[in-house]
């Protein structure tokens, strides 16, 4: 079994596409599609990497990131943010919240794969 990725995203066809490319690359991909109990999914799955959307139903990706960083058992978990909100202030907010990498939509599959591989390898 490959290394585990938890994809927290509410757009079904993005979930399907990203899950497909990561699975084909050997990752064990789990998905979660709402914000309000996303932190429970992170605790339950204990993935090697979290891919997190910003605009989610129930709770924003920034809030979920804050919860991850505030939990002593999860605080070191690598988090990649994928978001349509590419403004400078969003990037700054993500960095202040402790994100490891930040990618804006639309992204290329190759870029996502490369970043995911590099984040877990490091």
């Amino acid at each position: 079994m490959g290394r585990r990725v938890l994809l927290i995203e509410d757009e079904p066809n993005i979930i399907e596409a990203v899950s497909f490319i990561l699975s084909r690359d050997g990752w064990d991909v789990k998905t979660h599609s709402n914000g309000h109990d996303a932190i429970d999914a992170v605790r339950a799955r204990r993935p090697d990497l979290v891919i997190l959307d910003v605009m989610l139903p129930g709770k924003s990706g920034f809030d979920i990131l804050h919860e991850i960083r505030s939990d002593s058992e999860l605080s070191g978990m690598p988090v990649l943010m994928l978001t349509a909100r590419g403004q400078v202030k969003d990037r700054e907010l993500a960095e202040q919240s402790g994100v490891n990498r930040f990618m804006t939509k639309p992204f290329s599959n190759a870029d996502v794969l490369e970043v995911v591989r590099s984040m877990v390898a490091s």
Binding site: I14, A17, F20, I21, A84, K105, P106, A110
Partner: protein, 442 residues
Amino acid sequence: MPESSMIGNRIRERRVMNGMRQSELARRVGISPSYLNLIEHNRRRIGGKTLLGIADALEVEPALLSEGAEATLIHGLREAAGTQAAQGVETRRAEEFAGRFPGWARLLVDLHGRAEALQRTVETLTDRLAHDPHLADSLHEVISTVTAIRSTSSILVETEALEPEWQNRFHRNIDEDSRRLAEGAESLVRYLEGAANTEAEIKSPQYELLAFLSANGFHFPALEGGAGSRVAQTIVAQAEALVSDAARRLALDALEQYRADATRLPLERVLEEMRRDPAPERLAQVFDCDLPTVFRRIAALPESEAGLVGLVSCDASGALIFRRPFPRFAMPRDAGACALWPLFQVLGQPQVPVRVRLRQAGRGQETVLALAAAEQLAPATFERPALMRAHMLILPDRSDRGESAGGGPGDALVRDVGVSCRICPLRGCAARREPSIVADGF
């Protein structure tokens, strides 16, 4: 007939063109109809305050009345040149230019006017892009759909020997997403087309409140003369512009404040005192109240009585919570206004009001007079800081027409300010917090 004696004819022509009766114009200017009649028949010389008052009431530049169309053309050329001063325009030769090439001069002034109008459209649209939640959601939807299509189509193109089931599945997803994208794009275009009519697109309680107050000219005769709170409740209940409960609550608060101010500064007495001397600090002394109360009261008077007045208020976070628009001074919708506005300056010095002439970038050499003062709504406690609110009254700047702006020593100084950084062309501004799309050649 000498130039000066033609002023009366021009006033009469413009008044008739505006469909205004002589008695109405006289009332607005504060002179008797018989005196106006003498002016219009060139039997009284006119200048100073009366000319400015008539020009304001007729919504024309005073130069158009005092000097005629050619002078207005020259004024327009100078205004256009003012925005390009750094490029070495020969402003001293504007008169010669207008005389030798009147057609070209009119074209130049017209183009300048259009550029100014476009600048305001850019300001409105940029403000929407930054603060409009509906637009942000629509764009997010479109970008998400594009992302799904891009990612899925890459899989179809780049994955060798993709199983037929997966192929079918991804083809179906692309078909589904392309339909969603088309719908999202159409919806976005419809929404942006509606942006041309900014007042028709009301999206938040604050916008609803502004539309409600604007529809009433910011003045509520029924609340004058000691009306009870039930009157305010009835006005709110019957207001078509107030759609949401949140907006109705905001409107009720605003009208309660109006009622309190109207009790403190009764309409007839305020108008009487303003005719004597409209300086806000004098009114504050006469009515024994603070400057913010006077500002609010002046901004709640009908335009026919108080003339052009703008008011903008903010809380301690800098969020704009009240706006009575002023035609020659743009204000962003929610937040992110220029940090150089005296509105924000007084938040840090609540005991010291500020009076300063402002020149807003992108509006030529035109200036307005801004009076700012802050008030404390609630004192500080050990749990929270004092609750502050600041207000900035905006009035026509008449100091460059030989009238005092209120007698302050700072009258001669002009502060260059913007609307918000995003659309501000001022270069080298120490208060800039983000790059400008205008300065970058948008």
